[in-house]
């Protein structure tokens, strides 16, 4: 080769010598061992330096990261507050329910297990494939819920068989329960599974761990009180999220403190469960609403809308088919008629219009009219009919209210004027929000010239016609009120003008301290009638509606052991053509008039004001009045017989 290497360690070698120089070879080798050892030492030093950096200097950073790795924060949902009626009877509670769960990793043969569960009737055979996929998709230790709520019979059946089903068990959880669901469904409302919309509205951090939220009624409007405060606990979990019992290993030492959840506030409603049940029964088979108010506080004593539904279905969760059935029901059970139903008030507004007429001087108690069964505006041929075709004969204001003479009010309407009508009805709270403490009330319509200008876009439609004033004088036409508004108006009549905001929640109770915060009644502007005697004229007439032999609701009001006042209303659902006779028998049920009634009692010391609306009930005095009477009887302690 002719090419030679020279040792860098200063050892000159005779490269051409064929004889191995063992001595120099060994020295070269030792030199190389020293060289490589130095390199090795340097390399190892970098590793040790790295270890020192990681374990000493950056230790705290990595310790925090390792803590963050293993500790998972799990929300502890609060226990929802209870809802009681005025006497402390439970309207909404939390009951343990049992759900059936399967833990995939503990089940040897999932197919076989599901098959046998189906044979026991605990799951649907059609769902086996779905459950199998579900149990194979998630982590093996994560339970798959097979059935949300087991009946007691199912629990008993499964309990006997449990040894045959390793990895399948029932697990308790709290479920909202409404013991008298149908009777309080619309007032109390219901909770349902949190939806995306709910999460957008609510503070998500405080709902971590919570599956349900109030959807309607008090459950919805008092959600911030009922929900409570979420708690947290720290759990040790592995890389897959499996929870590790902290006592099994020495790993609970440095866990941060847990924060326990605070239960939600209990809510006491002013509702009387007995009245709710009574009103529900009275409206059975009908569509309508009953609202009763304590006139001196605005506390709602009963609020029922019929038909109703079982709110427990929402709390437990229902199938799409069940929900569709509720949605498509022609009776609209989910619709809260008490605050959302807008009905023409019919003759129920006559006492208020009488007060308006007296107060504006449009009439006086002495003024008399001859009622021939119809009324015509000057220079027109249109007949405004009285409900009584043959007419009431000669009537004064008292008679016009007691017998509900339409013609008397037709004649007055021009003198009062639509804007005065509007103003006085407005003072009674009609056609406006009552401010009730649940969401979703309908505003109703209290028409006026101004209203018509804004309600219609076409110039021709914006003009107010005299005929419309005539119609409005008997609560027909544009006028729409909710049963709650009518109850509020009845309460204002009862108190002779003092008004309170209607509300359902009477008190909120801290479940730990037991301290109750009472809802202070909110007094609204008085109706304001110049002469107090006008009240007694009108109320006297309302009394006679029920307790004078000529009154429209005498059949309902007679034999009472207390003095009551009321006014019937029968609102047309469709117009009767001019020369046609109104034949109740021939009209389809859905086209029949709505039956309305407002009442309060006792007359001199009013404790309850009621409004009843029965859709297509035909007659306020025959159908709605008895329900109002029954509610008052029950509340005033004369009850016993259901209507």
């Amino acid at each position: 080769m002719g090419y030679a290497f020279e040792s860098n360690w200063g050892i000159n070698l005779d490269l051409l010598s064929p004889i191995k120089d063992h001595h120099s070879e060994r020295r070269l080798f030792i030199a190389r061992v020293i060289l490589t050892s130095i390199i090795g030492f340097l390399l190892l030093s970098t590793v040790i330096a790295r270890l020192v950096q990681l374990q000493i200097f950056d230790h705290e950073v990595f310790a925090a990261q390792s803590q963050g790795n293993r500790v998972r924060i799990e929300a502890v949902p609060p226990i929802r507050g209870l809802v009681f009626d005025r006497e402390g009877r439970v309207l909404a509670e939390n009951l343990p329910a049992y759900q059936l769960e399967l833990i995939p990793e503990q089940v040897a043969d999932i197919d076989d297990t599901l098959q046998r569960l189906a044979t026991l009737g605990l799951i649907d055979a059609d769902d086996i494939v779905g459950f199998k996929e579900l149990s194979e998709s998630g982590p093996r230790f994560k339970p798959v819920t097979l059935k949300l709520r087991l009946s007691e019979v199912e629990i008993a059946n499964f309990a006997i068989q449990r040894p045959r089903f390793p990895g399948v068990d029932f697990k308790p959880r709290l479920v909202r329960h409404y013991p008298n669901g149908e009777a309080i469904a619309h007032a109390v409302g219901y909770v349902g599974a949190l939806s995306k919309n709910d999460l957008a509205r609510l503070d998500t951090s405080s709902y971590a761990g919570t599956a349900h939220t109030g959807k309607t009624g008090v459950e919805n409007s008092f959600e911030p009180y009922l929900h409570g405060d979420v708690g947290y606990r720290h759990i040790v979990s592995n890389a897959l999220g499996r929870q590790i019992p902290t006592d099994s290993r020495n790993m609970a030492d440095s866990l941060p403190d847990d924060e326990s959840s605070a239960p939600g506030q209990n809510v006491y409603l002013s509702l009387d469960l007995d009245l709710q049940l009574l009103a529900t029964k009275a409206l059975e088979g009908r569509r309508g609403a009953v609202v009763a108010i304590d006139p001196w506080s605005g506390e709602i004593l009963t609020m029922v809308s019929a038909p109703s539904f079982d709110p427990n279905l929402f709390a437990v969760g229902m199938s799409t088919a069940q929900y569709a059935e509720l949605q498509n029901d022609l009776g609209q059970p989910l619709f809260n008629r008490a605050i959302r139903g807008a009905y023409p008030p019919g003759s129920t507004i006559k006492p208020m219009l009488a007060l308006a007429a007296l107060d504006t001087g449009a009439t006086n108690p002495m003024r008399r009219s001859i009622c021939r069964g119809f009324f015509m505006l000057p220079n027109t041929t249109h007949r405004y009919r009285d409900w009584k075709p043959e007419g009431h004969g000669e009537v004064d204001l008292h008679d016009a209210i007691t017998q509900s003479c339409d013609v008397y009010f037709y004649e007055l309407s021009g003198d009062i004027g639509i804007d005065n009508m509007h103003d006085y009805l407005d003072k009674f709270g009609l056609g406006q929000a009552t401010g009730i403490d649940v969401r979703g009330e309908h505003l109703g319509v209290n028409p006026s010239r101004d209203w018509k200008r804004t309600a219609f876009t076409e110039r021709a439609d914006q003009r107010w016609f005299h005929g419309e004033t005539v119609n409005n004088s008997i609560g027909q036409g544009y006028m729409l009120t909710t049963p709650l508004q009518l109850a509020g108006a009845a309460a204002a009549l009862a108190t002779r003008g003092t008004r309170f905001q209607p509300h359902l929640v009477a008190a909120v109770e801290d479940p730990i301290t037991g301290r109750r915060t009472l809802t202070a009644p909110t007094r609204l502007a008085d109706v304001g009638i110049n002469d107090q005697s006008y009240w007694e004229i009108v109320i006297g007439a309302m009394h006679d509606v029920m307790q004078n032999v000529r009154g429209t609701a005498y059949a309902t009001g007679r034999n009472a052991e207390y003095e009551m006042a009321g006014k019937s209303g029968t609102a047309q659902v469709f117009s009767v053509a001019q020369e046609e006779e109104y034949d109740e028998e021939e009209i389809e049920e859905r086209l029949r008039d709505h039956a309305l009634f407002i009442a309060f009692a006792p007359v001199d010391n009013p404790r309850i004001a009621v409004a009843v609306v029965v859709e297509n009930g035909s007659s306020g005095s025959r159908v709605a009045a008895p329900i109002a009477r029954a509610i008052m009887d029950e509340y005033l302690g004369y009850g016993g017989d259901a209507p």
Partner: protein, 387 residues
């Protein structure tokens, strides 16, 4: 009794001879010598293995069955060590070319008929299932040492080319499997022989400079997952749940261990399965987490002791073959330790190199202890040979 007293006072010739010599060896030391076992090396290996088993027990989740499995493997490996310790260096040297040739044939067989598992073709089933690359771990340095044994060292350029071929061919075959980690270790074991044989330093520097373009060429030949490993080293946080996950979790484990560690079986990173491959390639991180800096330094000290003893044996070795082979075995062992610990601490890319004598797994441990057996043979046969 006076007669007996005089007997006691007077020593026989034999007795006097014995008394003049150093104290006789103990039974254990005699047994070691008879079995050609080097006591310091043996004790060092046993201490590392014992510490390894302790850490492994925790790393496998206190699974006794797996621990017993590992102890059995250790037993097999110790038997292999005992066997190689009985083979004299001369015997080994004479058979070296044939072993090397046989290993090459097996490597070719692997690539043609080997079993494929997890995307790699590394195993050969000839009655027993094994990785022929393990044979080459010893055969390559033995072959290089054999070649240099009769020749003048340092080697000349032409000889260097031949040596390079002895290293490159098996390395390339193993890299094809692909098993980059083993290929690099085998190349290292051969290169170490050449370096110990006196490869001039300027040639080493020149090769190191040439290594830069060489690395670029290598980059083009690397599999995607191998490239990813290099990239991950440079920036593990780029893909924290993917390729960088191992390194990030490993650093968290080691760093959170601190000076004293979280305590044996109490490492949350390891026990809660955040640390991947915690019983194999990443077991050093388990140790760092549970036993802390003091624990891993203790292990490193033991490793340094074993490597030091190996180098001492190499220096004491009587001939070129033994010297180069002993030096290569010792320093290759160091490379194992360095690559694994550097990988786990995030200094070098993740290559599949287990922590010797500690990681779970059998094949490499047998090879490792067979190598130590050769070291012992070199040490014990030296005394019996005339110098």
């Amino acid at each position: 009794m006076s007669t007996s007293g005089t007997v006691a006072m007077r020593l026989s010739e034999t007795q006097r001879l014995i008394a003049s010599k150093p104290a006789p060896l103990g039974d254990l030391a005699r047994a070691f010598r008879r079995l050609n076992i080097d006591a310091p090396l043996f004790v060092g290996i046993l201490l590392i293995s014992a510490l390894g088993l302790v850490v492994l027990y925790s790393a496998v989740g206190e699974n006794m069955r797996l621990l017993v499995n590992q102890i059995l493997r250790l037993g097999v490996a110790l038997v292999a060590m005992l066997i190689t310790a009985q083979l004299s260096p001369d015997f080994l040297r004479r058979w070296t070319p044939w072993g090397f040739l046989g290993g090459l044939i097996l490597l070719v067989l692997v690539l043609t008929t080997g079993e494929v598992s997890q995307g790699a073709q590394r195993w050969l089933n000839l009655g027993i299932r094994f990785q022929p690359s393990e044979i080459m771990k010893l055969a390559v340095p033995m072959m290089a040492a054999w070649y240099l044994h009769d020749r003048q060292i340092p080697p000349r350029a032409g000889q260097l080319l031949l040596l390079a071929l002895m290293i490159v061919v098996p390395t390339a075959l193993i890299a094809r499997q692909p098993d980059l980690g083993t290929a690099l270790l085998i190349a290292a074991s051969g290169i170490i022989v050449i370096v110990l044989a006196g490869l001039p330093i300027r040639v080493m520097v020149a090769l190191a400079v040439l290594a830069i373009p060489g690395a670029l060429v290598l980059w083009n030949f690397m599999q995607d997952y191998q490239k990813q490993r290099v990239l991950t080293l440079l920036d593990p946080d780029a893909d924290p749940l993917g390729a960088g996950y191992n390194i990030i979790q490993s650093k968290i484990a080691i760093g959170s261990g601190g000076l004293f560690g979280k305590g044996w079986t109490n490492g949350s990173q390891a026990q809660l399965e955040f640390l991947p491959e915690r019983d194999t390639d990443f077991i050093f991180a388990v140790m760092g987490e549970e036993l802390g800096l003091l624990g891993v330094l203790a292990l490193i000290v033991l490793y340094v002791f074993v490597i030091g003893r190996g180098l001492y044996i190499a220096i004491q070795a009587p001939d070129t073959y033994s010297r180069l082979l002993a030096g290569s075995i010792s320093l290759t062992f160091f490379v194992y330790v360095f690559v694994n610990t550097a990988m786990v601490t995030g200094i070098v890319p993740v290559v599949g190199v287990p922590l010797p004598l500690v990681s779970f797994g059998g094949t490499s441990m047998v090879t490792l202890l067979a190598g130590f057996g050769i070291l012992m043979s070199i040490q014990s046969h030296r005394k019996l040979l005339p110098h």
